[in-house]
Amino acid sequence: MTRANFALLILIVIVASLPLFGGAYALRVGTLACMYAIFALSWNVVGGFAGYPSFATAASFGLGAYVTGILLNNGVPLPAALAGTFIALFLGAVALGAVLLRLRGHYFAIASLSLVEVFRELINNATDLTGGGMGLNIPLASSSGILADAMFFFYAMWGLLVLTALVVIVVSVSKLGFGLSCIRQNETAANMVGLNTTLYKSIAFGLSACFVGTAGGLYAAWVHYIDPSDVFDILYSVKPIVMALMGGLGSPLGVVCGAFLYLGLEEVVWRNYIQIHSGVLGVLIIVLLLFLPHGLISLRWAMVWRKVKHA
């Protein structure tokens, strides 16, 4: 285990103690923090390790929310619904990835962005199944009180974060992670040394979708009501990128720090400038990109691997 990955796990364990410090608000922020960290870690697999600028996070999130929501409404218990969502999202993304990851650069970015639009519209139009634009009501998971519910969803999201972090760490030090790094640096050469790039990229895309989708499922069960414009919000695609840029592209510890930092800023902005919060978010993004480009992308790609070697 590298020092950075160890630090990441410590950080996540510290987050678990959050309920000790506050009530419902702390739990809400804590759940969001775990969710954002899952977004950032997942995006990092395809965007950071493999270097493909994916804007598909919102598509995974929305689909996951709807798959879980529909399963719950049909009487499937929550754990089974989440497991089903996880598997469905992984397989679906692997299949889609095999086709879409033939594209590079801007074209891949646009295609992944379009996935969000396509799935939002499909869900919007499948009124019988999803309630369309009216949204989908999801039954309460339990009736043991608001605070207990909040506690349950916080630890559920936290558990998912732990799982995500462990898988991402394992990927980062495995042959898969090494291969993805090869693909990012030089895809032609990667192919030429016998690396099945299509397979590797597809798996990366699948991994970047399944945890986000499951988080979407938990989110749906948590808030009891979802509608297409909420869960397929393109901001869900952009936020993880901003987090990764803030914390350091490619490093799991970096992107999780970025996620927490981002959430902190978002909460402050949201509380103080509710009317212009998205504008302030825009200013924040621009300031970050223009004035701290090297502070952000501070982590040199090779560092991840240099560390592995010394481990």
Partner: protein, 253 residues
């Protein structure tokens, strides 16, 4: 010329079109095990296209490619690599952020599906030593000199345990000392029994190491045979070598 040995690569009537351009026209050629075949011809003759076609980068539009007894016409690049076809690039293609060692280890790791992480690294060291880069093993590939990066390409290709090795202008951009060193390496590879097909512009090198020469011109194979015969071939002189070269050659006997 050595007796006709076991055939390893065979192209029959291979063509490759890019839009309206016919980069390869009806090329048929055979390579035997242990041979060092020189592939020469003017720029744009289709030499690199031929390599790309065999390696599955730009599959043939028509014709059949067999390698080691199996049809590889439609095989993907990574599959071709795992079958024992490896190559170096005219424009070097390192994993720029990796160390030289990791570059070679990646080649060993991904070309042999059962290969372990540890043995890939160990092997990588021997290949780096063979091409004389052991001192640069931990250096980032992007910081190596061109000559070193060319040798790194070679080490990567060797780590793939090739049955057939394509060398695409390994000497381009090198000075005469570096060329000499590279030529020596090619001799050593041939001595190991690796079949080599090399694209090369330096006739001195071609004549020094190749056991046979094939000449491409406008996508067509215009000559194929022993070096001595090919360089006297009138079509080759007209298309590529030039009258001056032929005269100089004749004067030298």
């Amino acid at each position: 010329m050595p007796e006709m040995q076991h055939e390893i690569l065979h192209l029959s009537n291979v063509s490759r079109n890019f839009g309206g351009l016919r980069a390869l026209r009806d090329v048929s050629i055979s390579v035997s095990k242990g041979e060092v075949l020189g592939l020469i011809g003017p720029n744009g003759a289709g030499k690199t296209t031929l390599v790309n076609t065999v390696c599955g980068v730009t599959p043939a539009s028509a014709g059949v490619v067999t390698f080691d007894g199996r049809d590889i016409t439609r095989v993907k690049t990574y599959q071709a690599a795992r079958l024992g076809l490896s190559r170096t690039f005219q424009i070097v293609q390192p994993f720029a952020e990796f160390s030289a060692l990791d570059n070679v280890a990646a080649a060993a790791l991904f070309s042999q599906p059962g290969e372990s992480w540890k043995s890939a690294r160990l092997e990588a060291r021997t290949h780096l030593a063979f091409v004389g880069l052991e001192a640069q093993a931990d250096q980032c590939a992007a910081t190596l000199t061109l000559a070193m990066r060319k040798r790194l390409e070679l080490a990567k290709a060797l780590a793939m345990k090739p049955k057939l090795l394509f060398l695409d202008e390994v000497n381009a951009g090198l000075n005469s000392i570096e060329v000499e060193r590279a030529t020596k390496l090619i001799h050593q590879l041939a001595a190991r029994g690796i079949t080599i097909v090399m694209i090369e512009h330096l006739m001195k090198v071609v004549l020094n190491v190749c056991t046979r020469i094939a000449v491409l011109h406008n996508g067509e194979l215009i000559a194929d045979g022993a070096p001595r015969d090919v360089i006297k071939n009138q079509a080759v002189v007209d298309a590529y070598l030039g009258q001056q070269y032929a005269q100089r050659n004749a004067a030298r006997g």
